[in-house]
Symmetry: C2
Subunit: 260 residues, 2 copies
C-alpha cells in the first residue's frame, strides 16, 4: 500500500522501498479516511470517492520538536501542513526584530496556505510543544483537485475561512480594548477545545504571555494584568498557563459590548 510514493516532489522522508516491510525504514504515512481528525481537517465534508482519492496521496507524517520551525518566512512553498497533534504559532517578523503572531494552530488546523500567493512562505511556523503534522504536497493536492469539484470547494472554503478568521482578528486589533481582546482570545480557545472533545472551561495554554500579547497587540505585562483583572472579577481562575473559566457568560459579556 506504499506504492503511492511519488518521487517528482521532494518528500520529508526519503521514499522507502515499497517492498520493505520493516516499520523502521518506512516513513509514517496517513490516510485521511481513517484519521480521527478527519471532520476538523482537510477532508471535512468529503465523502466516498473524493476521500478515497485523497487517501491515495498518503501524506507523510513528521514530528516537530518544541521550538522547531515547520517553515520560515521566505522558504519555498511546497507543502501545506495539517496539525495532527501539538500546537503551533505562525508569525511575521519586521526587520527591527518586532514580531507579530498571526495565529495559533491546533490539531486538525492547516498551516501554510499563505505561501501560495507568491510561491514562498509569507510567515514562519514554530511548534509550541512537541507536535506531529501531515505534510501535504500542494502540487499533488491541486493535481487531485483538478479532477474533483468537491475537493476544489473544500480547499477554497478553507482559504476563505482563513480570510474570515483574520477579519475578526483585525476587528479585535483595530477596535477592542485589552479586556475585550483577551476575552475574545480565551473564548476562541475555549470553542476550539470543545470542538476537539476537550473541556471548554478548563485548559492549558501552550503559549507564553509574550506570545499572547504579540497576537493580541498588547505587551506581556498587560496580558498578565488583564488575566489578574479577570480573576478579580471572578471570571477565571488562572495559574500560569492553566486556565479555568468559571463564568463563561460573564466572559462573553466582557467580550461583547460592555458598552451599556
Amino acid at each position: 500500500m506504499q506504492t503511492a510514493v511519488r518521487p517528482s516532489i521532494p518528500l520529508h522522508f526519503t521514499p522507502s522501498n515499497a517492498l520493505t516491510r520493516t516499520p523502521v525504514a518506512a516513513p509514517l504515512r496517513t490516510q485521511c479516511s481513517t484519521c480521527h481528525l478527519r471532520d476538523l481537517c482537510l477532508p471535512c465534508g468529503l465523502t466516498g470517492n473524493d476521500l478515497q482519492r485523497l487517501d491515495g496521496l498518503m501524506f507523510a507524517r513528521r514530528r516537530v520538536k518544541e521550538g522547531d520551525a515547520l517553515y520560515h518566512e521566505g522558504d519555498k512553498f511546497q507543502f501545506i501542513y495539517a496539525v495532527r497533534s501539538g500546537t503551533f504559532r505562525s508569525h511575521l517578523s519586521l526587520r527591527d526584530g518586532r514580531e507579530q503572531v498571526t495565529g495559533f494552530q491546533m490539531a486538525g488546523e492547516l498551516l501554510g496556505l499563505e505561501g501560495l500567493a507568491s510561491g514562498r512562505h509569507a510567515s514562519s511556523a514554530v511548534a509550541l510543544e512537541d507536535a506531529e503534522i501531515c505534510a501535504i504536497p500542494y502540487a499533488h493536492l491541486s493535481e487531485l483537485a483538478a479532477g474533483s469539484t468537491e475537493l476544489q470547494h473544500v480547499i477554497s472554503r478553507l482559504m476563505s475561512r482563513e480570510i474570515v478568521r483574520e477579519h475578526s482578528l483585525m476587528m479585535l486589533l483595530g477596535s477592542m480594548n485589552a479586556e475585550e481582546r483577551l476575552a475574545a482570545f480565551l473564548l476562541n480557545i475555549s470553542q476550539r477545545m470543545k470542538a476537539r472533545g476537550y473541556s471548554p472551561t478548563e485548559f492549558h495554554l501552550r503559549m507564553s504571555r509574550a506570545e499572547i500579547g504579540s497576537y493580541l497587540g498588547m505587551k506581556l505585562e498587560t496580558v498578565s494584568r488583564t488575566f489578574s483583572a479577570f480573576q478579580a472579577q471572578r471570571l477565571l481562575a488562572v495559574d500560569k498557563k492553566h486556565v479555568r473559566i468559571s463564568d463563561l457568560d460573564g466572559l462573553t459579556r466582557a467580550f461583547e459590548t460592555r458598552v451599556q
Copy 2:
C-alpha cells in the same frame, strides 16, 4: 456572442435576447480578454484557451452609486466582484455599532472572497464614489475551474494573496505606532496607484479620515494630526483628500524601522 447567458443562476440584469442589437436593452457584459484591467484582475496570468473560456462567462457589469452597498454582511454569497472603476471599502460591524474597515478596493481588485467560507458574506462592501463592477457568478467560475488547472491556481493564488494582505494589516495593527501606520497606508496606496498608471506621488484619497482611522485602528483626530505631522516634516503636502508625497524615501523611512 451573447449566447453564453446562463439562466440557472440569478443575474444582476435580466438576460437579453441574444438577437437584440439595441445597446439599451442589452445588459453590459464584459470579456476579460479585451479588458484594460486584465493584468491586474482575475484573468492575470491566464492565456489562450483559459482566457477564452473565461470570456464565455460574459460577466454582467453593474453600476454602484456612491454610498450604496455592493453586498451586506450576512447576504447570501453568489458572486465575487471585480472593481472596474471607483473605490470600495469593506467593513465589519459589531453589535454596539463599532465598525472595522477591513480594506479598500480599487480598479482590478476583487471583493467578496470571504463569502465562500460560510456561503454568506462575512463583511459589507460600500462604494466610496460612483463605481462599476463585474459580477462574477461563483458557481459558473468554479464550474469553469473544474476544467482548468490554471484557473484553479489563479483563484487560489488570489485568495492566498488576500490572506497575505491581511497578515500585513495585522502586523500594522498589532505592532506599529500612528506614524508608521499612516505611512504604510499611504505607501500602499501609492504603489497601487502606480500599478494603475497614475502618479504614485500625487493622488486623491476617496475615503474620509474616519474611514482611514477605522482601517488603521486609530481615531480620526489622530489620523488628522498625523497628516499634519508628516506635513510639518515636509514628507507630504495635504489638502483635505488631496495628497502629494514630496519625500517618498522619507516616508518609507517613517514606515520602516525608525528604530534604525
